[in-house]
Amino acid sequence: MRVDEPLAAPGSLDPEAATITEAEERVSVAPQWQLMWWRFRKHKLALVSTALVILFYLVVAFADFLAYADPLASEAQRSLIAPQAVHLFDDGRLSPYVEGLVGTRDSLTFKRVYVVDPSVKVPLTFLPQGFAYKLFGVIPMDRHLIGVTGEGNTTENALFILGTDDQGRDQWSRLMYATQVSLLIGLVSVAMSLFLGVFVGGLSGYIGGTTDTVIQRVIEILRSIPTIPLWMGLAASVPRDWDIVRVFFVMTLIFSLFSWTELARVVRGRFLSLRHEDFVTAAELVGCSQFRIVFRHLVPSFLSHIIAATTLALPAIIIFETSLSFLGLGMRPPGLSWGVMLQAASNVQTAAVSPWLLLPAVPVTVAILAFNFLGDGLRDAADPYGV
């Protein structure tokens, strides 16, 4: 049973022998969660991913604070401004600034365009006042993490860390809100998926018999058909005139349909392997209700596996949501999500001239990778007794 460090052969006269037996002792008396943590710690990528996932959910919680502009405030004149480079040092002192923009008229198209003017320095300020919002939906605030000071909201004196989209909306601020929506959708959908999976899988595994056979065949059928066109059809029939909040909830429902089968399979497998364990029989003999047996005795014993499977289900939902929203069938403007943002880059000509529109691809990929690695690590840790 190797959990932390490899153990030396017993009885060796190594001077370290004493500490090793101490380590061995530590392993044998450690509680389960401790063993899990030791196992999880060995998966370095999972550790890094944990940090990333925490970071992502900090963005979810503080999106309003991290954004510095209204994500929906459009201004035709500011369309497709390139990202501004942030200079950290000015004259060797720490004083971050961006180079100012100056508006000119394109001599060919007579359109108003903004070019960088290196002589103008727009200083960044820490915790400036900006548009008002409610933190966590309750605490009224108007401070933001960074921003620029100065009178008015002129383009010459504004900040565009990630540039603007075709309607002149600030990409950074939009990205913060999009991250909030996309990851919240993922979380809510996976929670509903989990509920469905535990319910159906539990039913299947605990009752067994014909119920089990029927449920298993249904799952098999669902897994053997191309489901994306199906759920696309479902998503498309959500009426166009619904408001964002309603669309959000219906979409999370549809997305949760996407991955419950896998979760149901995992739960059923666990139920089947535990149903005839002695502690279950004991509980039955003592006269526990079925409900109590399932939720008090069975579920806690495979909770860790379920958590791992749930984490691994998240990337699929994120991919699905992003794809559908990208096509305009999932979240729709004025709603925001990573897919909605990437829609701006769906025209290759536009994307070729303004490649920063493709930047939301980065958080999408990083989030999917992070959840995958985290899930991998959790799956390993869920069973700390194996090799």
Partner: protein
Amino acid sequence: MVRRLILAIFTVIAISILSFLIIHLPPGDYVTTYIAEQAASGGTVSEQEAQNLRIQYGLDQPVYVQYAKWMGLIARGNFGMAMEYQLPVAQVIGDRLWLTVAVSTAALIFTWIVALPIGIYSAVRQHSILDYVFTFIGFIGLAIPNFLLALLVLYFGFKYFNANIGGLFKPEFADAPWSWAKLQDLLGHMPIPAIVLGMAATAAQIRIMRANLLDEKRKPYVVSARVRGLPEYRVILKYPVRVALNPFASTIGYTLPYIVSGSVIVSIVLSLPTVGPLLFKALIALDMFLAGTIILLLGVLTVVGTLLSDLLLMWLDPRIRLEG
């Protein structure tokens, strides 16, 4: 085998019910849409006319009767009318269905041709630099949604080669009747959609093959083959690879639906003339007869494809044959 056939039949029935539900999901029916269309173009439809239309299309009957009627029509090859095009659905879909099959098959072939050798290599040379490179590429393949990959391919193609990579045909062949030259053009356009579509599945398959072979490689029969002095390539290829192939091959049942699903989205981004963009347009226009038919056809094709590949595997591998 009989079990599989029965399950396939049930699957087809399930798909037909689901597609029928999709058709009936949006509020209103064909006639309300028709009235709205007529009103938009200035015409009017009287209450009597609407009633007649409803009776003509059987919309006044209960849902299960409508379903039975629909199935009856489909069995006779009549898929109904595509409202937006004012053409029979079968005619609107036309070649697109077969191009969908072609693209999905190409992606599947790509997945296998690439995943098999890389999986074997990664297992045999575990922890080598190339193994890590392949693992890394595999993770990227899993992490980039395929519409995004398609978008990036388009972007880089446009930016650095100044070429529009999308589509399956050169413009001059797009509407031309089938010919040898058109087929060649199609084959020339096939690699990019196949790679984009097959990327995620390939990554998953490499992981499966690698894990299987790593498990097999440590078994005593491999050691004994080696002890007898067999050349290394035979030790690996003749025994553990053949054992590891079985679970690898049986994943095709989940790979095909996955690829067909993806093809819908990738086709829209790469503007391939498959049923993907058609389905998308139909869904946006709420042309549910067309959409439902496409969903039904995609599902049935996938079931048939899976069944065919199962048969192929049975022919290849006696163990599956015996399992029944």
